[in-house]
Symmetry: C2
């Protein structure tokens, strides 16, 4: 057994992963409501994100598409950032690659939010985060695009679960999105040669 873990109070070895992380963070002087990046994502925020994701995930395809159509409604010029839209001659809604792409982005974003507290950091696999960073760098995604995408995501979720929507739920999703974007931005650099 790892000697550091051995030195912790008995409860650490018998409790849940989440409690173990809380205790570890305490030993590392990180407040219990912050993750290893020093950012806050509370138990309440996690519960709100999990609850709404459970209600949405069966409709990931429709919601993902709605999310992306909302981005392009607000910022039509963002279409030029996607090669499969830029080179296309069919209308946006009929593009065969849009829905699969939109769905995977939506699911990845929500998954990252759901895992955020348990994992103690943004979890998309390391290779994916690097790839995401490189792609966003290469295509020239600007801060304004991340902002519009955040607004579109929050609107999509609000319209998907109006009965459970609240300022607290909005803040929870906003915080999770901001942490995902920070993680992507930290990898936005030219590929190492």
């Amino acid at each position: 057994m790892n000697p550091t873990i051995k030195a912790l109070p008995k409860q650490a070895t018998t409790s849940t992963t989440s409690t173990a992380i809380t205790i570890l963070n305490k030993y590392l002087s990180i407040p219990h409501n912050m993750n290893s990046m020093g950012k806050c994502f509370t138990e309440e925020q996690e519960a709100l994100v999990v609850k709404s994701w459970n209600a949405m995930k069966k409709n990931s395809g429709e919601l993902g598409l709605k999310f992306f159509l909302k981005i392009f409604e607000i910022a039509p010029s963002a279409q030029k950032l996607f090669s499969f839209l830029r080179d296309s001659t069919v209308p946006l809604e009929q593009n065969p690659k849009l829905k699969p792409h939109a769905t995977s982005v939506f699911v990845m974003t929500c998954d990252s939010a759901v895992q955020l507290r348990k994992a103690g950091k943004v979890t998309v696999r390391e290779s994916t985060l690097k790839k995401l960073g490189a792609t966003h760098f290469r295509t020239g995604v600007a801060n304004e695009h991340f902002e519009v995408t955040k607004f579109a995501l929050l609107e999509t979720i609000k319209e998907a679960v109006p009965e459970m929507w609240s300022p607290e739920m909005k803040n929870a999703w906003a915080e999770a999105y901001d942490q995902l974007v920070d993680a992507i931005k930290s990898e936005m650099k030219p590929p190492s040669s």
Copy 2:
């Protein structure tokens, strides 16, 4: 009397300005639903814009502020384009310069839409258009900002007059906004020295 006008059929001298422009455009081979820039703004679109503006104008202050707060909700970083926000230490909603500025932009935008067909072109006074172009150029306004502003404007009007809102009304305001932006963009250049 101008000899060109004299040569027009009798109805031209007795009809309204708008009919005179239609007939002039016909003689100049411009279709009657296009203005002197060759852009379309129909009588129906004018009626929709006038009708909604008449319902909104008494609330210009509140609506202008709502319009700008919506822009900043979607794109918080756009605040840095405004010196009175950039250098401010008070919260956005309490900034004393925001509401007057937002109101004047909202009224100018709506006035331009209302006048568009009658005038046959975007009407903000020539000096104002030049000034608007120079200011937008100097502060570094990007295409994405004009897009977000368009979305925020349409949402603000939709929420202001929900009972008369329709796809046709949305298109009318969108067209008028696009023509205003084109006119501003045509003046977005460094000041002549």
